[in-house]
């Protein structure tokens, strides 16, 4: 059903361009501008969104011609190779399908995956279809474990019975059904190592939690999964990160959205997500000062930059955290808690913080 809708949407785009060509007009595509100058923080929905600025990309323009060609080429590949056959392909695969040399030149339609990735993101804005609806997936880089039974492509999966590795979350999670959820909250962590620790300690059993991780920056699939768990299963989402500016930004992306994916914020952001740790206060309370890692110039610059973002600049709690970070002149990793005992995090730190609702928002 959605597949058919996507197909029709792309065909419509094609017809629009062809009719311009028939009329002898320089074919052009209009879409909302996606660069930083058109990213706005919408205070009402508390998410990053695209502004009103429109861009026009036309074919008979030296600066646009190649991008125009890339966009149309990627659209035609997606329509013919993916949607019509009902198959999914990775960003990397789409890149290889689009990559070829234009006869009589030494110009490739795309030289680098960055170009086809961008063309796909543009196509999302142009067509109003998400990448998932276009059947394009990214590498899966996430795991889930907990008392949740779900259904994926006809298979029923019990995430309580998947051993140490847990459920490997696919890139596209829209078609997953939640059959039975028996949990009180979802804990998302940036470190896979912590995920393994908590899983080994059966944290999720003892605390009625669902554990989710994706290494580093949260992938789009995981963000979508967290949003669905929040909205459909009505579970609170807690985020566990390092006490550094990058950890803060991981939380920020889950909550407010990111600059690169501002066009699809509605499908990804979670306005009531809460940050559980690590904080500057934890550093004092749990005596982690001797585990501080000195801030680099890069860290300092990034702290300044993030502090000035519209969605941070009035948030006193977070600004206080940044100030402490600068006073310590240091950052702390989640793993530093291991200094207090290998299972300190699962037996004391997390249960206490969550019980006492020591959250940052």
């Amino acid at each position: 059903m959605t597949k058919k809708k996507s197909e029709e949407e792309l065909k419509l785009l094609g017809k629009k361009i062809v009719s311009q060509v028939e009329k002898g007009k320089n074919p052009e595509i209009n879409f909302t501008l996606r660069n930083l100058s058109n990213i706005v923080y919408d205070k009402k929905s508390r998410t990053l969104k695209l502004g009103d600025k429109q861009a026009t990309r036309s074919f008979f323009n030296v600066a646009h011609a190649k991008k125009f060609l890339q966009t149309v080429e990627v659209a035609s590949i997606i329509k013919k190779e993916l949607l019509e056959s009902g198959k999914h392909e990775h960003l990397r695969g789409v890149f290889y399908m689009a990559k070829r040399t234009i006869p009589g030149t030494n110009v490739n339609i795309v030289d680098d995956q960055v170009e086809s990735d961008k063309a796909i993101e543009d196509l999302e804005v142009i067509s109003g279809l998400s990448r998932e609806e276009l059947h394009v997936s990214a590498n899966k880089m996430g795991s889930m474990v907990g008392s949740i039974i779900l259904e994926d492509s006809g298979d029923v999966i019990n995430c309580a019975k998947l051993g140490r590795g847990g459920y490997s979350v696919p890139s596209i999670v829209d078609e997953i059904k939640f059959n039975k959820v028996d949990a009180e909250y979802v804990l998302y962590m940036e470190k896979a190592a912590i995920f393994e620790r908590l899983n080994e300690d059966k944290f999720w059993q003892k605390n009625k939690a669902i554990l989710v991780t994706s290494q580093g920056q949260t992938t789009r699939g995981i963000r979508r999964l967290l949003q669905r768990l929040s909205e459909e299963a009505k579970l609170p989402i807690y985020v566990l990160c390092d006490y550094d500016i990058y950890g803060a930004y991981i939380y920020s992306v889950i909550r407010y959205g990111s600059i690169a994916l501002a066009h699809t914020s509605d499908r990804l952001t979670i306005p009531n997500v809460k940050y559980v740790g690590i904080t500057g206060d934890d550093v004092i309370k749990y005596d982690l000062k001797r585990h501080l890692i000195k801030l680099t110039d890069q860290d300092m610059a990034r702290i300044k930059q993030v502090s000035e973002y519209d969605w941070f600049k009035d948030n006193k709690d977070w600004l206080r955290q940044f100030k402490m970070m600068k006073e310590f002149n240091g950052k702390v990793e989640i793993q530093a808690l291991s200094a207090r005992g290998i299972s300190f995090i699962s037996e004391k730190y997390l249960p206490e913080k969550i019980k006492n609702k020591e959250f940052l928002e």
Partner: protein, 529 residues
């Protein structure tokens, strides 16, 4: 101890060495030092004479040159012109007596300057083959043609007539020379072929028919019917003479007093200046010039050097002129762009001179390596000693990068270009008697640089424009290549026919060609509010 004093013994071996004998032993001084150069020098002297002769008669030159290979090392050079011919009595002296001629004693822009040229070739021929040089000449259709076979008496520097005839000849007037010599025919930058070609460039008013030793006929046809501006003889300027010349002038003058000698035999000296010079040198105005030659020439020389006189007249020069030079270049060098510029005349050390330059760029010229530099003095190509020449110094000293040519350090610039520099003067200062390189006078180098910079600016404008054109063509080409790709993607996307879409796109390209060409550089996505 011998009975006789040593000086007397030595005196037995001491005798006058004739100029011909001197040449025999020092032929390298005149450029005849190897067989390949000997061939070039012979052709050069003969062609120079032919061009000067036709100029004297004010006719458009028609010159036939043939080089035949008789054996591995022996060649015969035949050259025929349509000049005024030579009167019978003078033929032996002109061709078979060294340092004979009218050019040596005047200051006039001529190809040759010393009058040693053609007779040197005759002597070289005699030394290497033992054969006489054959001359045919006629001065008028009403007079007979004379044929001579000539040798040189090397001891006395006198002509030896081996044969003398009246002959039938189809020409109304003109001269034909046949010389046999030991030689070597080479190709390349310093070859006879190159010399003839460059001569054609600098003398577009001449037609040159050249049969090379491979029996191929190369025709350099006239590119203009305009005769070169006639050069005029001028008297020496007081700042431009040497002591030896002054002494000779004092001897030879017909003036009876020093003051009248100064006024009559020099340019730019009037009565007042002449008086001042005499006072400065502490000499009587009425002194006999010949007497001064012996005793007080040096004082007079110093006074002449110090005298305040205006620069010599410059209307005596005969530049090729920029239009004609460009014509010459166009007819012999296939390029996309030509520029030629003639500077106003100026003066070095009391000698008037004038510099011209031309550049040809692009087209069939070699894109790799350094540019070709062609040097000319009084319309004569200079093929040897490029490195020692003031022209080369001026070219390499100039920074060519701003003018669109590559250049590494102080080398010749690189790129598909030919650079021509011509210096015209009543007295071109060569570094040696072989007349192959121009001496490094600051005034001359400065003038050459100025003319090169003027040409360079025109070249830079062209290159900027030209490169832009090429880029624009490339852009259009790129759209042409993109169209089939876009058409096939659009066809897949819209389920419409590819051929129709492609045709429509091509029509739009044609229509919007001009606006696409006007676009400059990268235009960012237009932002609309």
């Amino acid at each position: 101890m011998p009975d006789q004093p040593i000086a007397e013994q030595l005196a037995k071996g001491q005798r006058e060495i004739s100029i011909s004998e001197f040449f025999t032993r020092n032929r390298h001084l005149l450029g005849f030092d190897n067989p390949a150069r000997a061939l070039l020098m012979t052709v050069k002297e003969a062609v120079d004479n032919a061009l000067d002769a036709t100029a004297d008669m004010k006719v458009l030159p028609e010159i036939k040159l043939a080089i035949e290979q008789l054996s591995e090392t022996r060649f015969k050079v035949t050259i025929e012109d349509n000049g005024p011919g030579i009167v019978k009595e003078q033929i032996p002296n002109i061709f078979a007596k060294l340092l004979y001629g009218s050019k040596f004693h005047t200051l006039k822009q001529n190809r040759g300057q010393q009058g040693i040229g053609i007779s040197a070739a005759v002597l070289y021929s005699q030394l290497t083959t033992g054969k006489p040089t054959r001359i045919t000449s006629r001065i008028s259709p009403k007079k007979p043609s004379h044929y001579y076979e000539l040798n040189i008496d090397t001891k006395r520097n006198e002509p030896v007539i081996a044969k003398e005839l009246e002959v039938e000849w189809e020409k109304d007037h003109g001269t034909k020379i046949e010389i046999e010599l030991e030689a070597k025919y080479l190709k390349g930058k310093q070859s006879v072929d190159e010399y003839v070609k460059q001569t054609a460039i600098a003398n577009p008013h001449a037609t040159l028919i050249y049969f090379n030793p491979e029996k191929e006929k190369v025709e350099y046809l006239r590119g203009t019917n305009q005769l070169p501006i006639e050069s005029k003889a001028i008297k020496p300027h007081p700042h431009g003479i040497e002591l030896g010349t002054l002494i000779k002038m004092l001897h030879d003058t017909t003036s009876t007093t020093l003051k009248s000698f100064l006024q009559n035999d020099f340019s730019r000296i009037g009565s007042g200046t002449a008086k001042g010079i005499c006072q400065q040198a502490n000499l009587y105005e009425k002194a006999r010039p010949a007497k001064i030659a012996q005793q007080e020439a040096e004082a007079l020389f110093k006074a002449l050097q110090a005298a305040k006189v205006i620069a010599p007249p410059t209307d005596c020069l005969s530049p090729i002129t920029n239009n004609i030079l460009e014509k010459g270049l166009r007819k012999e060098i296939q390029a996309d762009f030509y520029v030629a510029i003639t500077r106003p005349p100026t003066v070095y050390r009391g000698f008037p001179f004038q510099v011209e330059a031309a550049i040809a760029y692009g087209g069939e010229l070699d894109k790799e390596g350094q540019v070709r530099l062609m040097r000319f003095a009084n319309r004569v190509p200079l093929l040897y000693q490029q490195g020692a020449c003031a022209i080369t110094e001026a070219v390499t000293d100039n920074n060519w990068k701003p003018y669109g040519l590559q250049q590494s350090g102080n080398n010749l610039p690189a790129g598909p270009a030919v650079i021509i520099v011509h210096i015209a003067s009543v007295w071109v200062p060569f570094t040696s008697e072989a007349k192959e390189a121009i001496a490094h006078y600051d005034d001359i180098i400065k003038e050459i640089k100025l003319v090169l910079q003027e040409c360079g600016r025109k070249l830079a404008t062209y290159i900027r424009h030209n490169v832009k054109n090429a880029e624009q063509k490339e852009r259009i080409g790129l759209f042409e290549k993109y169209i089939p790709e876009l058409a096939s993607s659009l066809a897949t996307l819209s389920d419409e026919k590819k051929t129709v879409i492609e045709e429509n796109l091509k029509k739009i390209l044609k229509k919007s060609m001009s606006s696409l060409l006007e676009e400059n550089g990268v235009v960012n996505d237009k932002e609309k509010k």
